[in-house]
């Protein structure tokens, strides 16, 4: 009996110990002088919920697969160098956290979209504080829900568009939180295709080849407090609905066909409190309907807003247009848009009743912008005496410019935004 009791107590202790071991996550150390010399070995040895700590050093590894919930943490930014051989980290499990790594040299592939870190079809990934250098695609999310991508630095090497990947690439995702990342040197800084209910906050996307941020077929997303500078175009929003954009800065997106913000076939968006500074075209709008543009500041752009055909029910009110070469270009077939209550620095009407609103309506579209729309080469005559004469006579008696594009209540003073 006593022997049986002893046996049982031993069993219980062992079981308790085992249970404790299972509940208590283990930490696996990777490094030249640690238990695991390679990351691959540590990943296969680890159990679900373990922490894999990678110590300083350079690891020539690629094709690493994370297939269980792990917390992978770099100590002192260890370098994972794929030496142009292919993808570095592929995550195919829920609840994986990757932080503090430097991933580099994925290598260009024309057949596969190799990435620094890929998350495939799993939820709740957290990718934080990593540095990705020359990774073709940086962070690639496919069919991912509830992921957090924050405080990463992604710098690509500028090549031609076909051999560059996107910085943060998301496809068929939901509820992403992309925050405070810094992206440069990619094709698109951040790319969303079929991504819903996500937010992009406080990122800086500069010097990318095509767009700083690109939405395709994505709905109910929001982005705010981001900065987009020196990209081919700051942000492109295409074929999407219910995108809210506020307090972003679109700066210095220069070049032919360069825009601060490009809107194409989008519906029901709000664009508020943004700054558009020194872009070739501040906002380029094609076929977009029910968009509200309020309290935005347009300063020193080539064209502040260029509105091509098929734009209905747009509400452009209470914006500041200051020192833009041309404030507005509107093609003839747009309807039912309002342009009231803006400040236009080129307005020179008067305000006799001193209510702060000009007594004469302002026509933001000049004859020259109309001509320019038809004959882009005419840009060489910008600000020439002849063009001024022409604009003046058109202003006195409009013949060519659309009569319904009119600010009925132009503000006399710049609005405080």
């Amino acid at each position: 009996m006593q022997a049986i009791l002893q046996y049982f107590s031993l069993l219980v202790t062992t079981l308790l110990l085992a249970a404790a071991a299972a509940a208590q996550p283990q930490t696996l150390h990777v490094g030249p002088e640690e238990d695991y010399p390679s990351i691959e070995a540590a990943l296969s040895a680890a159990d679900s919920g373990d922490v894999v700590e990678i110590h300083t050093g350079t690891y020539h590894e690629h094709g690493l697969v994370v297939d269980k919930p792990l917390h992978i943490r770099g100590i002192g930014y260890p370098v994972l160098d794929a030496q142009e051989q292919g993808e570095i980290l592929t995550i195919i499990a829920h609840d994986v956290t990757v932080e503090g790594l430097q991933l580099q040299n994925v290598g260009v592939s024309y057949l596969k979209d190799h990435a620094g870190i890929r998350v495939r079809q799993r939820s709740r990934a957290v990718i934080r504080n990593n540095r990705l250098v020359n990774t073709f695609f940086g962070i690639y999310l496919e069919r991912v829900h509830d992921a957090v991508i924050e405080d990463n630095e992604l710098s690509g090497v500028l090549r031609d568009e076909a051999s560059s990947g996107n910085g943060i690439h998301a496809w068929h995702c939901e509820n992403l939180d992309i925050r405070n990342n810094w992206v440069t040197g990619h094709r698109d800084g951040i790319y969303f295709e079929f991504v819903d209910s996500s937010q992009i906050v406080g990122n800086e996307s500069v010097g990318n080849q095509r767009y700083g941020l690109h939405f395709m077929f994505s709905n109910h997303d929001e982005y705010h407090h981001n900065r987009f500078a020196d990209n081919g175009a700051g942000v492109a929003v295409m074929f999407s609905k219910f995108i809210n954009m506020w307090e972003n800065t679109f700066e210095h997106n220069w070049g032919r066909a360069a825009y601060g913000l490009l809107l194409k076939e989008i519906y029901d968006a709000r664009i508020e409190d943004n700054h558009f500074i020194q872009n070739t075209i501040g906002i380029n709008i094609e076929g977009s309907t029910r968009i509200v543009y309020q309290r935005n500041a347009f300063r020193r752009n080539g064209w502040a807003i260029k509105m091509a055909g098929g734009c209905l029910d747009n509400d452009i009110t209470e914006n500041n247009f200051r020192s833009n070469t041309l404030d507005l270009v509107v093609s003839s077939n747009v309807n039912n848009n309002t342009f009231d209550g803006n400040f236009w620095s080129e307005y020179n009407g008067y305000d006799l009743d001193r209510d702060g609103i000009g007594d004469v309506p302002y026509r933001p579209v000049k004859l020259f912008s109309y001509i320019l729309d038809q004959t882009p080469e005419a840009i060489v005559l910008l600000r020439s005496f002849f063009v001024s004469l022409m604009n003046f006579s058109e202003k006195v008696s409009p013949v060519f410019t659309p009569a319904n594009v009119l600010d009925h209540q132009p503000s006399m003073q710049p609005l405080s935004l």
Binding site: Q278, T280, W303, Q374, E377, V380, R383, S384, L389
Partner: protein, 260 residues
């Protein structure tokens, strides 16, 4: 030549016209700065004035000065001096004194405003140097008109036509042909047409500094390549220099064969 230059500059700098011209620029740029306070906006307003006024004043004043100083020229011709020395000296004297009025008239308000320490200094510099170049080009052309035409009325008429052509008519024709032939590739044409008119060329050079975003939005590759680079800037400067050299060369040629 330096002596002739010295004296004709001295003479012109003390004429009522030079003061008027100076006062205009002082008031205009000072007033604009005071009213607007936005330097780049002021630079653009001034650009329009400079592009129109500098050529106008240079041609009209140039022709007037040429005709007024005919007898004096004859006095000099009888002196032991080379002919071209006399005309180059007078031409340079005219161009320099007009330029001095321009530079001081615009310079004082801007310097008082603190441009020297601001980031707009280069815009300002581009503006001024283009104004000076235009003054040189058009006063040279005016001298050519004077040398070619004994008849004052005809000379003045031609000077007005010259100004009107380069300042207004040229751009009108240019725009018209762009619209008429918009089905064809026009980059080369518009580039050439711009370079061939010194007023257009200086306008583009100033705009390259100020409105670069708008110009870069132009969709033609040739144009962007030309305007956006140091090569484009260099070529534009070279062409302007050529424009400035042309009347100098013409003056020498005509002066060599002309009877007085």
């Amino acid at each position: 030549m330096l002596k002739i230059l010295k004296y004709s500059t001295y003479d012109l700098l003390r004429s009522r016209w030079a003061y008027l011209y100076l006062a205009f620029f002082l008031l205009f740029s000072g007033g604009l700065l005071y009213l607007s306070g936005d330097v780049s906006k002021v630079v653009i307003s001034l650009m329009n004035v400079i592009l129109i006024l500098c050529p106008l004043i240079a041609t009209m004043f140039g022709v007037m000065y040429y005709y007024n100083s005919r007898e004096f020229t004859e006095l000099l011709l009888a002196q032991p001096i080379r002919r071209r020395t006399i005309f180059w000296g007078q031409y340079l004297g005219l161009a320099i004194s007009l330029s001095v009025s321009l530079v001081i008239g615009i310079g004082i308000p801007f310097v008082a405003y603190g441009i020297l320490h601001g980031p707009e200094i280069w815009n300002f510099f581009t503006l001024i140097s283009n104004g000076v170049l235009l003054t040189f080009i058009f006063s040279g052309l005016a001298f050519l008109i004077g040398l070619k035409n004994e008849n004052k009325i005809r000379g003045f008429g031609l000077a007005i036509v010259l100004w009107l052509f380069f300042a207004v008519v040229y751009d009108g024709l240019f725009l018209l042909s762009l619209i008429l032939f918009k089905e064809y590739p026009l980059e080369g044409f518009s580039l050439a047409a711009t370079v061939l008119n010194p007023i257009d060329l200086s306008r583009i050079m100033i705009l390259l500094k100020l409105d670069i975003s708008a110009l870069m939005g132009y969709t033609g590759a040739v144009f962007q390549k030309f305007l956006g680079t140091a090569l484009g800037m260099g070529l534009s400067l070279l062409t302007l220099a050529l424009w400035a050299w042309l009347p100098v060369w013409g003056i020498q040629r005509i002066a060599q064969q002309k009877d007085f």
